[in-house]
Symmetry: C2
Subunit: 217 residues, 2 copies
């Protein structure tokens, strides 16, 4: 039993254990006992660090947004906001694919069972992770790459696309290898060209995006 | 207790009761006893009509596709395939909004708890409901309204958009009144214009679509 970790490290350890349990055994596995066991500690550690299992559940959602942010912030921004938007899309999908169960809880698709979480509050405080999308869209507007007035609205449209795509992928309705090139990439291109992106620019951005992915894997 | 219904009517009654329970009380409410009570009949009726609760669960999914089809087939087709695609979108969303829990089970977003359903099989046999989308996209291609080679791929892109949108609406992340005009409609327009739809035609189609909705409510 590990009692020597600092408070912050123990919290992260318990949250990672909870995220793993959620993914592997579903929402009903999120009990104090199971989380403590999975983190190789005592149930007391859950109470000391979170006060209650409900508080842990709320912090689990917030932790999800941190994990999402860690994927998205890896993007090395270029001079081309279009390339950057594609990079951000890949980062977002990387997180969703690593933590599908947590992703669904974060964005209101499923609830954390009988645990009481403040979905609305959690989402509100987690949406900073998507500011980067709004800012990137604003760069597209400022650079006259797309014709649009409100970057926030366009970011929401992007979000609908990646959310819908992720959920089909989780549900095994789309398979990743085939459906990124057959569905997601063409859909993003149609969306962007409908916003006024020059088709040649779109294809160049895609080439640069894939080159970047090859170099960062 | 009602024992005078024909077999087919009793099956439908039990399936409607199960759909209602799923929506109001969640997946754990789908027990033989609760479904029988909700349908004002005996547990024996469940066994007589379905053999087992698992069979009922599978037929519930198939029933969902019938309900979806009933919304979508209401569309009075016009000469403009673009208008028709917008009508179909509204029909699809009407079903999703009426049966959000069932919708999620049909499309692999959530499972029916401990009930064993053959999601893949059910989805495969239910996807006839989306043939109408493929056919309508094919009309757009044939009429040179959009530039595309494969109607099925384009129909999948449409599907990602309406699926992603529906799930944000279920999760209260988008509110219907505001987000159809602010997110969904512009996104569909950008997508269609990216496929080559003339912006004037797109706006006309939208006007005709809303006029149709006003006349059919």
């Amino acid at each position: 039993m590990n009692t020597s970790l600092s408070e912050s490290k123990m919290k992260t350890k318990l949250l990672n254990a909870a995220a793993m349990l959620l993914m592997e055994e579903g929402v009903n596995s999120l009990t104090t006992r199971k989380i403590a066991n999975a983190a190789n500690t005592s149930t007391m550690a859950v109470y000391t660090n979170f006060g209650s299992i409900n508080n842990l559940a709320n912090e689990l959602i917030a932790h999800g947004f941190i994990l999402l942010w860690e994927e998205v912030r890896l993007v090395q921004f270029s001079e081309d906001a279009l390339v950057d938007l594609l990079h951000i899309t890949t980062g977002y999908l990387n997180f969703a694919n690593k933590q599908p169960a947590l992703y669904k809880c974060m964005f209101g698709v499923t609830s954390l069972g009988e645990l009481k979480t403040s979905e609305k509050e959690n989402l509100k405080s987690g949406l900073y992770t998507l500011d980067i999308v709004v800012k990137t869209v604003q760069r597209l507007i400022d650079g006259k790459v797309i014709k649009a007035e409100n970057a926030f609205h366009i970011a929401n449209e992007w979000w609908v696309i990646v959310h819908g795509y992720s959920l089909f992928e989780f549900g095994d309705i789309f398979s990743k290898d085939k459906s990124v090139p057959k569905v997601l990439t063409p859909l993003l291109l149609h969306f962007l060209m409908g916003l006024g992106v020059d088709p040649t620019h779109a294809k160049e951005a895609l080439t640069n995006h894939f080159r970047y992915l090859d170099n960062t894997i």
